[in-house]
């Protein structure tokens, strides 16, 4: 059986409040799909996502694996830093990518600064 990645453009969550954003993302994950979201949640929203996940754990829903990739600021010269800060002002939380997978499907997301590895369980029907 194939692993389903569901792309969520930032436009789809931009107008939603925190609770609705979390609800939308968790609904996809509970359907055993991996969310590939454009941009990132705010740190407080990520924390609320973890809290809500814990409150919803059941025998079949065992939680999530979560990972955010965000452009690194290291080793940038002053001009590039200014350019990046300007881009961040315009793009806001649209920068980066967020991956959220169901813990029953995604065993581990291993993250090093420059790469991400997604380890999955054998998917049963």
């Amino acid at each position: 059986m194939a692993l389903t990645l569901q792309f969520v453009p930032y436009d789809d969550i931009e107008s939603l409040d925190t609770n609705s954003r979390i609800e939308k993302l968790l609904t996809i994950v509970k359907n055993k799909s991996v969310v590939l979201m454009e941009g990132r949640l705010k740190p407080e929203e990520e924390t609320k996502l973890i809290k809500k996940t814990m409150q919803e754990i059941t025998r079949t829903f065992k939680g999530i694996e979560l990972c955010t990739i965000f452009p690194e600021e290291k080793n940038l010269d002053l001009f590039k830093k200014l350019k990046k800060n300007f881009a961040s002002m315009i793009l806001g939380d649209r920068e980066g990518i967020t991956i959220i997978g169901p813990a029953s499907v995604v065993k581990e997301i291993r993250r090093d600064p420059n790469k991400i590895q997604l380890f999955t369980f054998d998917i049963k029907k």
Partner: protein
């Protein structure tokens, strides 16, 4: 404050100890210590069964652990300073670490990263320092009580 065990999620409820006093190099610090369960994004009762716990006890432990994580997150709202204890033998780039530290920074709560288990040969403090270069990282061994002088020094520095 909490018991130590090889089974994950040994601390499943918040422990509060009031009026702790640390005296260090002529300075004194009085505070209330809140020891919270570790924060996780997944809890599977079947994982506890691998440690030879019965199904019933595993399910109970999972239930208490999820409640503990929720409680730990709620306590974050009321902290003046947070000591984030990371295992220096593990990869520090876990999203839980990044999320919680990001959350504390967003709330402007001062934090100190304690890189625990430095007594183990495969401990890598440098990796934690490079993962979180903007924060104070101090290597300790809670088991052996190693490097506590430097830990207190850092603690006094951030609560100043």
């Amino acid at each position: 404050m909490s018991a130590v065990s090889h089974i994950p999620h040994e601390t499943r409820e918040v422990h509060v100890k009031e009026q702790i006093v640390i005296k260090h190099k002529g300075k004194e610090l009085t505070f209330n210590l809140i020891d919270t369960p570790g924060i996780a994004t997944k809890i599977d009762y079947e994982d506890f069964m691998k440690y030879k716990l019965s199904k019933k006890r595993s399910k109970q432990r999972a239930k208490e652990a999820t409640k503990g994580v929720v409680e730990a997150i709620q306590w974050l709202d009321d902290m003046d300073v947070v000591i984030v204890v990371l295992d220096s033998t593990e990869n520090p780039y876990s999203q839980v670490n990044i999320t919680i530290i990001g959350n504390l920074v967003a709330r402007k709560i001062p934090l100190l990263i304690a890189a625990n288990k430095i007594d183990l040969r495969h401990a890598k403090i440098k990796k934690i320092e490079s993962a979180f270069p903007q924060y104070d990282v101090v290597g300790i061994s809670a088991l052996k009580g190693a490097n506590m002088e430097e830990f207190y020094e850092s603690l006094f520095r951030i609560v100043r």
